[in-house]
């Protein structure tokens, strides 16, 4: 591990990267000024509502003078860019990058809602709920890939689990049993992936593709044969949101974070548990060592196969939980191909987040934000096709993958089958 962190240090503080980042900050500043600020008339105000719809509160709206806000954001970003070019922020560069990107997005919102009002709290709340399946999918990927098994089957696992959760939930009349069925479906497909890629040493990407094809076919088959025609087989209901006492009363943050359903809270718990377990326990060290250097791990007495099986099974269960969100956590009904590529976006979020739980969460929030903003743009009357905003996460992932913003540190033995000698 020592070499990895050393390498990381070098990469983060390299002079080329310092310059690239500085220029990027300046570009974002120029973007705020040219794209948003220049075309805005003076005297307009932007109003942000700070309470999500449907909740009673006498919190006042947040009114900002549009042009002044944009100018401040642009100047501050430019200043930070200048500092970065001259002396650099060193290890805090990524944090600054997050801030400047945040300014850019905030500038965009201020500009888009100029002379108008935008429900900021509602937007953030939608962002959070849209990011739930992406985050959970990414966590599934983190579990598998940290142990050295590439999992592109997240999409298929989610889809199959979504269907089973709805089907079993409707038949049994219990949401909890439906949820359990979803998790078990994920585990079952995880087992298939594990057996194919660990025992039979099938190429892991092909094995994942098989599961995706299978899940797409079987869910469409069952759905067309039973669930579309018999409504009672596809009506599980949903987990209702509930407020956490005390925390839910915090102004602004409370209604956004602490008035959600089971899946959102579970996501936060999984995030914390998985971060701690992976990076501060013996279990996590073993799991990661299997993903980094299985031969060395084997020499030290760690059972590589068992560790990988366990990781892929847990990853499958996580993907199953993510899939159940679609039916019993949000829509209350199964539709064909309803996951719509969220599993792949989860995979992208995992890469974006550098194979760490909280990194993935951050990336998922970004993707969820782009998703929820796309539906708001039309309402605000902004002249950008929502499809282009929808492309943003994919393009951002490709940029990250290309190493423009700094190369991620993927597990060294990711995707390689282990052969015991």
């Amino acid at each position: 591990m020592a070499t990895t962190s050393l390498r990381r240090e070098i990469e983060v503080t390299s002079p080329t990267r310092q310059r690239v980042m500085g220029i990027l900050f300046l570009l974002l500043a120029a973007g705020i000024w040219l794209l948003f600020g220049r075309g805005t008339e003076g005297g307009l105000t932007t109003t942000f509502n700070l309470v999500p719809g449907g909740i009673d509160s006498n919190l006042p709206d947040w009114k900002l003078p549009t042009l002044a806000t944009l100018n401040v954001l642009a100047m501050f970003s430019a200043f930070v860019g200048g500092v970065q070019l001259v002396r650099g922020f060193g290890r805090r560069t990524n944090l600054i990058l997050a801030f400047v990107s945040g300014f850019f997005i905030f500038g965009f919102l201020t500009w888009a809602a100029a002379g108008n009002s935008l429900n900021l709290a509602g937007l953030l709340n939608t962002t959070l709920s849209k990011s739930v399946p992406i985050t959970l999918g990414a966590l599934s990927g983190v579990l598998c890939e940290r142990a050295g098994v590439v999992n592109i089957a997240i999409e298929g696992m989610m889809l199959a689990a979504a269907m089973m959760a709805s089907l079993v939930g409707s038949i049994s009349g219990s949401l909890w049993i439906g949820l359990l069925a979803g998790v078990l479906t994920g585990a079952l497909l995880g087992l298939v992936h594990a057996v194919l890629s660990i025992k039979y040493m099938t190429d892991q990407i092909i094995s994942g593709t098989v599961i995706n094809i299978f899940a797409g076919g079987i869910t469409a088959f069952v759905s067309a044969k039973f669930m579309q025609s018999v409504q009672s087989l596809n009506d599980p209901g949903i987990f209702k949101p509930f407020e956490i006492p005390l925390l839910g009363k915090i102004p602004v943050l409370g209604p956004i974070l602490f008035n959600n359903n089971l899946f959102v809270y579970a996501m936060f718990i999984f995030l914390i548990v998985l971060s701690v377990a992976l990076f501060s326990t013996r279990w996590g060290l073993r799991l990661r060592s299997v993903g980094e250097h299985p031969k060395a791990a084997d020499t030290l007495g760690i059972n590589v196969f068992r560790t990988r099986y366990m990781a892929v099974l847990l990853g499958g269960m996580m993907a199953g939980f993510a899939g159940a969100y679609f039916t019993v956590g949000s829509v209350g009904r199964f539709d064909e191909f309803m996951t719509a590529g969220r599993g792949f976006i989860g995979l992208a979020a995992m890469i974006f987040g550098n194979w760490t739980p909280f990194g993935s969460f951050g990336a998922s929030l970004l993707f969820g934000f782009a998703d929820s903003l796309a539906s708001k743009l039309a309402i605000l009357g902004v002249n950008i096709p929502s499809q282009f905003l929808g492309m943003a996460p994919y393009i951002a992932t490709m940029v990250v993958l290309a190493g423009v913003v700094g190369r991620g540190q993927m597990p060294a033995a990711d995707g390689q089958p282990y052969v015991k000698e």
Binding site: V210, I218, L401, M410
Partner: protein, 426 residues
């Protein structure tokens, strides 16, 4: 188990041996062909058996017969499967009795109708041939092009645009132009991930998946805006000029068109390129052993970029074929997952053009028959996708097939040249 030849000193010799599939075999040709076909054939057979089990287990009549006796349930299950697979056969190849009757009666419309299923199967196979050639070419060169679906979309967009926007050309120029436009579109969509892989190491699997979604959004935008048919409420492009339509050989209802023969010619071209030119030798060398290929002085960067562009171009032809030959316009849902099916077909065909054609014919046939099966036996067409997944599992893990049928493991393991190395691509 790990007798990998990477440690041997003579890289050139190793490379040549690997390219020719190990040391020269002394088996006669017929035995070798039989051996090559055995696993795919058993995989397809096992897939059909599993499909039959799925049909029986999801059938209402089997469950109602179960209440009488288990034996009745088995009989009902067999009946159900016979009905389903019978419809599958009649819908894809044709009903033999009907063909004979039609020929005897001499009624030309009746003859056309009787032969329609098999010609429709050939038509349905055409995009599969292009798509799986694209995947196979990628695999041979060591890249996994999972983005065929997106490349098909872009190819379709390009050829549809040339098809309806360019006017006043004779068919002899317009058709090749529209086809080339499709290939160009796909090639661009393949070039980007290829370039990214070669220059930055970004893995093509992730990048092509991302490019797929970008392609969907892009076509969504184009069809609801710039390329939308002026008089329509639906997201659909204008109809292409008659001069850009691929000619059909028979009168309606037979849709069989020139695209099928273009696909066969393309397959031959890919074969010639891969196995008869120096250039194809480079591609295959990099695919099999990049280290040895670099040692032999080949440029991995060039080969990777070329392979992804060519692969994308082939996929683009699939999109062009659908637009110019069948639909004559571009709609959002024109591709029913050809790109993803193509991965399965390329593997089933062992990444060889001949194998790819056979696999594509099989799946075109299955898909055509499944449409009829859906009507006759109320079995959703999606069962074909499930079958495909089963077959793909058996192809990807031949050890399962060997275990089921108690086959001997051949001493020279000629596994297909699928070589993917983690996300980093190194």
């Amino acid at each position: 188990m790990s007798d990998k030849p990477t440690e041997k000193p003579d890289a050139g010799k190793v490379l040549l041996e690997e390219l020719n599939g190990g040391p020269p075999s002394h088996l006669p040709l017929s035995r070798r062909i039989g051996r090559t076909l055995l696993i795919p054939a058993l995989a397809v057979f096992s897939g059909l058996v599993l499909g039959a089990i799925l049909i029986a287990f999801t059938s209402q009549s089997v469950y109602s017969a179960w209440s009488i006796s288990p034996w009745e349930a088995v009989k009902a299950g067999i009946n159900e499967v016979r009905l389903a697979y019978g419809a599958l056969f009649a819908g894809s190849i044709g009903d033999p009795a009907r063909i004979l009757d039609a020929l005897r009666s001499g009624d030309s419309l009746e003859v056309r109708r009787a032969f329609n299923p098999i010609l429709e199967s050939l038509t349905a196979s055409t995009p599969y041939i292009f798509g799986s050639l694209a995947v196979a070419l990628g695999f041979r060169s060591g890249v996994f092009n999972i983005g065929v679906e997106g490349q098909i979309f872009i190819g379709a967009i390009f050829s549809a645009f040339v098809g309806y926007a360019v006017t006043g050309l004779p068919a002899i120029i317009h058709i090749p132009l529209a086809l080339l436009a499709g290939a160009l579109g796909g090639a661009i969509w393949g070039f980007i991930p290829g370039w990214l892989k070669a220059k930055t190491g970004g893995h093509e699997v992730i990048n092509t998946i991302m490019m797929n979604y970008i392609a969907f959004r892009l076509s969504d935008w184009l069809l609801s805006g710039p390329m939308k048919r002026p008089d329509s409420f639906n997201p659909v492009s204008p109809t292409i000029q008659p001069s850009a339509m691929l000619p059909r050989f028979f009168q309606s209802p037979i849709r069989f068109h020139l695209g099928f023969f273009i696909a066969l010619a393309t397959a031959w071209l890919v074969y010639w390129l891969l196995f008869r030119t120096r250039w194809g030798f480079d591609l295959r060398s990099v695919g099999i052993n990049p280290r040895a290929a670099r040692y032999a002085g080949m440029s991995i960067v060039t080969v990777t970029i070329m392979a992804m562009s060519l692969s994308g171009g082939l996929a683009g032809l699939a999109g062009a074929n659908e637009v110019l030959g069948l639909n004559h316009n571009l709609a959002m849902a024109f591709s029913s997952g050809y790109g993803f099916d193509s991965i399965a077909l390329a593997l089933l065909g062992k990444n060889h053009p001949v194998g790819v054609i056979l696999a594509s014919l099989l799946f075109g046939t299955l898909r055509t028959g499944a449409t009829r099966m859906q009507v006759v036996a109320q079995i959703p067409i999606d069962i074909i996708t499930v079958l495909q997944a089963f077959i793909l599992i058996f192809i990807a893990a031949p050890a399962i097939i060997r275990t089921i049928y108690r086959l001997r493991t051949p001493e020279t393991e000629e596994e297909e040249g699928v070589t993917i190395r983690g996300w980093g691509g190194g």
